[in-house]
């Protein structure tokens, strides 16, 4: 049943110009960034050769590209998730799902996975850029995979937050702004981690960015993985509760 909902959600995205525009904008921006990075690397190459233990192409092209990609996606994910529940509530079509023999968790997971599937397509297209370097250079595949995994996890967490916030309002724009605010706040909270003692650690732990950076360095720490999984699960859980609550309230 989840598959049915996911498939419709994904199809629906591609029926509207939104998904295509989003793909085009992300791909265009990042391709330009990618070319700049490759160019920088070419210029640096001579000097790098003289260094011991010099950073490779993966560190100098793939990692910065993924860093920018994370930023771009954090700004665009709210636009994808904003309509998920708010619009269906406004037009009343949510009742189709509510009156069908599916559970609340199936509805939420189905919709969430639909968005996630789309974002994985976006990430796959982004990953093709650094992968294309394999034609002429030696890539650190491990590092690259860690980067892709990090970006996917970050995306999964951000979408879960967006899904939840879209159940709080019937106006998509409000949901989008709230999601953007939350995500950026969690991204920037890292700056406060220099505070001394426990507070600093806590801020650092909650930062979306700190955990992502670890992946980009090629470090695979289960703490980071658990952070993103907990983050996503918590927001999906809240979404299910919220929808159950809506059935009681309006």
């Amino acid at each position: 049943m989840i598959v049915v909902i996911t498939a419709r959600e994904l199809r629906n995205l591609f029926l509207s110009p939104l998904a295509w525009t989003l793909l085009a904008v992300v791909q265009g921006l990042l391709a330009w960034m990618f070319l700049l990075l490759v160019n920088d690397f070419r210029e640096l190459q001579g000097r790098l050769a003289s260094l011991d233990n010099a950073p490779g192409v993966t560190d100098l092209v793939a990692a910065p590209l993924f860093r920018v990609a994370a930023w771009v996606l954090l700004l665009l994910i709210p636009l994808l998730t904003m309509r998920l529940f708010s619009e269906e509530r406004r037009t009343g079509t949510l009742d189709l799902l509510l009156s069908a023999p599916v559970t609340m968790s199936e509805i939420v997971l189905g919709k969430y996975l639909g968005i996630l599937a789309f974002l994985l397509i976006v990430i796959a297209l982004i990953a093709l850029m650094p992968l294309s370097l394999a034609l002429g250079a030696t890539l650190d595949i491990g590092k690259l995979l860690a980067g892709i995994l990090g970006l996917s996890l970050l995306t999964a967490a951000a979408s879960a937050a967006g899904v939840y916030l879209s159940t709080l309002t019937t106006q998509p724009a409000v949901a989008a702004i709230a999601t953007m605010g939350l995500l950026l706040a969690l991204w920037m909270i890292d700056a406060a981690s220099t505070a001394p003692g426990v507070t600093g650690n806590l801020f650092g732990y909650f930062s979306l960015r700190r955990h992502y950076d670890a992946f980009l360095l090629g470090l695979f720490d289960s703490t980071d993985l658990v952070y993103y999984l907990l983050f996503s699960t918590a927001f999906l859980g809240l979404t299910i509760r919220r929808l159950d609550d809506l059935r009681l309230r309006d």
Partner: protein, 330 residues
């Protein structure tokens, strides 16, 4: 059209059989509050196979709220709903399998085509890929949707959207169908077609519908219920209603009316009301309509009889009188 008339006699026998038919939906003391307001207040009723239950009531009486709770879209504050012997609140997913629902606004995605919408809905209700294609083809035939297959729903007229909504509600062959104002916004011809369709559907299912057009309820339903301010104030089978109301009143018009007392003396007449302009209403015992005596007396005494008709109480009159009575009672 042909079918519409052919159905009429067999429906009467159906009504008689309904009393024994299996119970498809049972609602017990259903209550739902919005803040201080009790939108639905301890409503109980049962629906059997073959019944078409018409919900009547002024706006805000709680009809839609009751129907939304039946469809599992809204959670009740108290009470029990049993659909096809499964408790809707305990096992919602299983109970909803036997349920079809059309709310006031059909549940349609404007950006999908008719085929996509029906297919999606069928799959959501657990039909396999092939079964849902078959079911969609069948229902499109029945609802007259075959020539709009590939059109976007957002581009279709309200009448078509309503038909798609109904098609969607019965696509997965549910045993209980809940229709909230199925004919709203349709032209007379379309609404006639929809009525015929609903009537067909109700023969081997249980249908609950609400409407503001009383004549429609009279044409489709086997049972009526009137709600007011969240309470069920009247419930009866339409057959009973007709029988009980049909033959106890007679309306006559006389050019030269005699004194009222003369009319009261007619055999079987219990009470006479003067309606003005030579018209009278005679109340008589159910099995003793004084047609013959009246005609004989009228011609013998030269009353100038120009109108003689049994007065049928329309659903509208019952509706109005019940709403008024319960308002006065408060």
């Amino acid at each position: 059209m042909q079918r519409f008339y052919n159905n009429a006699p067999c429906r009467l026998t159906l009504v008689e059989n309904i009393a024994m038919a299996e119970i498809l939906a049972q609602v017990e003391r259903l209550t739902r509050c919005y803040g201080e307001i009790r939108a639905v207040d301890e409503v109980s009723f049962t629906l059997r196979r073959g019944q078409a239950l018409g919900f009547l009531g002024p706006n805000g009486a709680g009809k839609s709220t009751t129907m939304r709770m039946l469809a599992g879209v809204l959670a009740p504050d108290a009470g029990r709903i049993i659909i096809d012997s499964v408790d809707l609140l305990d096992q919602p997913a299983q109970a909803k399998r036997s349920l079809g629902y059309l709310p006031e606004q059909p549940l349609l995605y404007r950006e999908m085509t008719v085929d996509e919408q029906l297919h999606y809905s069928a799959r959501l209700h657990g039909l396999s890929r092939t079964a849902s294609r078959q079911a969609a083809a069948d229902i499109k035939e029945r609802c007259g949707l075959t020539d709009v297959n590939r059109r976007l729903i957002g581009h279709l007229s309200k009448g078509y959207q309503q038909r798609i909504g109904i098609a969607q509600a019965v696509l997965h062959d549910p045993s209980v169908v809940v229709l909230d104002e199925p004919t709203v916004g349709l032209d007379p011809l379309q609404s006639h077609e929809i009525c015929t369709l609903i009537r067909e559907l109700s023969q081997d299912r249980g249908v609950i519908l609400s409407s503001h057009r009383l004549s429609e309820v009279q044409a489709i339903c086997t049972h009526v219920q009137i709600m007011r301010a969240g309470r069920l104030v009247y419930a009866s089978s339409l057959a009973d209603l007709e029988q009980q109301q049909q033959s106890t009143r007679l309306r006559i018009g006389l050019k030269m009316p005699p004194p009222l007392a003369r009319l009261t003396q007619l055999p079987g007449v219990e009470r006479v009301e003067a309606l003005g302009e030579g018209r009278f209403r005679l109340h008589h015992a159910a099995d003793a309509a004084p047609y013959q005596a009246l005609v004989e007396r009228a011609s013998a005494e030269n009353w100038g009889l120009w109108e003689l008709a049994p007065e049928q109480v329309s659903l509208e009159q019952i509706f109005v009188s019940f709403i008024l009575e319960s308002e006065i009672a408060e």
